[in-house]
């Protein structure tokens, strides 16, 4: 092959590799914008007491206006939640039952209402949800009387978010490297909701190489290799050693 043609091929191949590299680099999600925390409305105009008219401690669990409450009340504000609990207590006559009803509203019922939003990976929605859920941990610290309710709501949504992150990373493994995903995983980890992200075999090999775990790398590869793979590897090693032997023979023992 003439030199000029060979040079052209080499230059073209190099250019192609650079173009492909830039294509993938441009696809990398480096968007580091984070949604800002929303302010909490202070008005507690929802009149739960009026909505509970006619209910008693026998039928309140079945007939509580779960959807109406989620539609119109201000359940972001601790003062409103405390007022609603007082209204509930007037019917249930039991603080624990009142907390359980409100907990069901703010967990199961709320999840049914927002389920569609979290069917696909939308990191901003998950960040907003986490910002909302985090408030409940602080509420539990300042309101010891209703601590259990706030802890339950907080724990429920943190589990929900971490489960969703696990699911989304299984569906689309590449999101593991996106900024917002890593942010959410780090936040969950900080809050002690550890997410075990599925690591591919290639990622495991790279990780072991980086950490110089040669012994484990060899053990794991050897244990998992089939007989055919072991024979092929042995043949490769024999061929390689024979090549070295030939080179030494040719150059040093002419």
């Amino acid at each position: 092959m003439p030199n000029s043609t060979r040079n052209k091929i080499i230059v073209s191949l190099t250019a192609l590799i650079i173009v492909v590299l830039f294509f993938f680099l441009s696809k990398a999600n480096n968007n580091n914008y984070l949604p800002e925390q929303r302010n909490t409305e202070s008005n507690c105009t929802y009149n739960l007491y009026a909505k509970l008219t006619g209910l008693n401690n026998q039928n309140i669990v079945a007939q509580f206006p779960y959807n109406d409450y989620l539609e119109h009340s201000n359940f972001n504000n601790i003062e409103c939640l405390k007022k609603d609990l007082t209204d509930l207590d007037s019917v249930t006559k039991d603080a624990m039952t009142s907390q359980q009803i409100l907990a069901t509203t703010l967990t199961d019922s709320l999840q049914k209402r927002v389920a569609n939003v979290y069917k696909i990976y939308q990191p901003d929605s998950l960040i907003y949800l986490m910002q909302w859920a985090e408030r409940f941990q602080y509420y539990a610290e300042i309101d010891t009387k209703n601590k259990i309710l706030f802890k339950v709501v907080y724990d429920y949504w943190m589990n929900f978010i971490s489960d969703k992150l696990t699911l989304f990373s299984k569906e689309t493994p590449s999101i593991k490297y996106a900024f917002k995903f890593k942010f959410l995983v780090a936040k969950c980890s900080e809050r002690k909701y550890n997410i075990g992200l599925k690591v591919t075999s290639t990622e495991k090999v790279i990780d072991n190489l980086v950490r110089s775990k040669w012994g484990h790398l060899f053990d794991a590869s050897w244990n998992q290799a089939s007989l055919l793979q072991k024979i092929l590897l042995s043949l490769l090693i024999v061929t390689f050693l024979y090549g070295i032997y030939c080179i030494i023979l040719k150059h040093f023992f002419k």
Binding site: K151, I195, L197
Partner: protein
């Protein structure tokens, strides 16, 4: 003269033999703790000559001498599991140590346990992994219980009031009560795969599972014929797939050990943190490879540790 020297030598030999016998330390009663290695026919293989090793550690809980302690993660101040274990074990008769449940990473310095985890009353991970199926409680007093999450029948006891509670950790209110109980009792809780529960196999064979000759290790708590409870660590260095490993361990316990009931059998993870050591009754480490995990790992690289000790 020659006779005298011979008689004296013989006397000295006898004296030395007896004195070393008396001086030998016994860290556990060999009636309660036994080890054995068997070469058994490979399940599913037609050739009876093809065999594989089963390394068995059997520990009877009779008279509560054998106890268990679990180090779930590095402590809040950053002390690594290896260091925690070393300080704790300084005055303990350790029978065996093994890696316990799954961690999110292989590097022990940053690895965190998967599934709900409480270490000595301190929360390490709040997230429940429903897919694991099992939840294990290790009491500060050295006992251990496990439950199938979906059954919602985890029984716990308040050590002060002796009152009993049945917990369903899927219920948010009961989960909070359980966490509060664990904090108060300084209990250790972890999650792992529960493969056998009350004699029932809880694993379905995955036809796509490719793993071959991978080591498997299981902890089984069994009821014996005489009503006592024994803990078995079944180490299968070449167990093939996970399903086959579980079946082999279950069949071994039921057919060869002849246990009355496998109360539960959980997975001990021999992945990248494959740590396993068993001690002889004189306190020395068993050197047989079937009673050891990854020889490249040191105690400082352990991400979590399950320790059996004798008191």
């Amino acid at each position: 003269m020659k006779k005298k020297v011979l008689a004296l030598s013989f006397g000295a030999f006898l004296l030395l033999s007896f004195s070393t016998k008396f001086l030998q330390k016994q860290i556990y009663d060999t009636k309660l703790v036994q080890t054995k290695t068997l070469q058994l026919k490979v399940v599913g293989q037609n050739d009876p000559n093809v065999k594989e090793p089963y390394a068995i550690l059997k520990m009877s809980r009779k008279s509560d001498r054998v106890k268990v302690r679990y180090f779930a993660a590095k402590s809040y101040d950053g002390t690594m599991v290896g260091s925690r274990y070393s300080s704790w074990s300084a005055n303990k008769n350790v029978i065996a140590i093994s890696s316990g449940t799954y961690m999110d990473l292989c590097d022990a310095s940053i690895a965190k346990p998967m599934g709900l985890c409480i270490d000595d009353g301190n929360i390490v991970n709040n997230k429940i992994e429903n897919t694991y199926g099992g939840i294990v409680v290790v009491y500060a007093t050295g006992g251990m219980v496990a439950s199938a999450i979906e059954k919602g029948d985890l029984n716990i006891t308040n050590s002060k009031t002796h009152s009993k509670m049945t917990i369903d950790v899927r219920n948010q209110f009961q989960k909070q009560a359980f966490i509060d109980w664990a904090k108060e009792e300084k209990a250790t809780v972890f999650q792992t795969h529960l493969f056998v529960y009350k004699d029932s196999l809880r694993l379905i064979e995955n036809p796509n599972e490719r793993m071959k000759n991978a080591p498997r290790r299981f902890l089984a708590v069994c009821k014996e014929e005489d009503g006592t409870v024994s803990h078995y660590i079944v180490n299968l260095p070449r167990a093939s797939t996970l399903y086959q490993g579980v079946v082999k361990a279950k069949e071994y316990l039921k057919n060869i050990e002849d246990v009355t009931q496998i109360v539960f059998m959980i997975n001990l993870d021999p992945g990248c943190q494959n740590f396993y050591n068993v001690h002889n009754s004189d306190g020395s480490k068993k050197l047989e490879s079937n009673f050891n995990g990854d020889p490249n790992l040191t105690i400082n690289q352990a991400a979590n540790l399950l320790a059996y000790y004798y008191e």
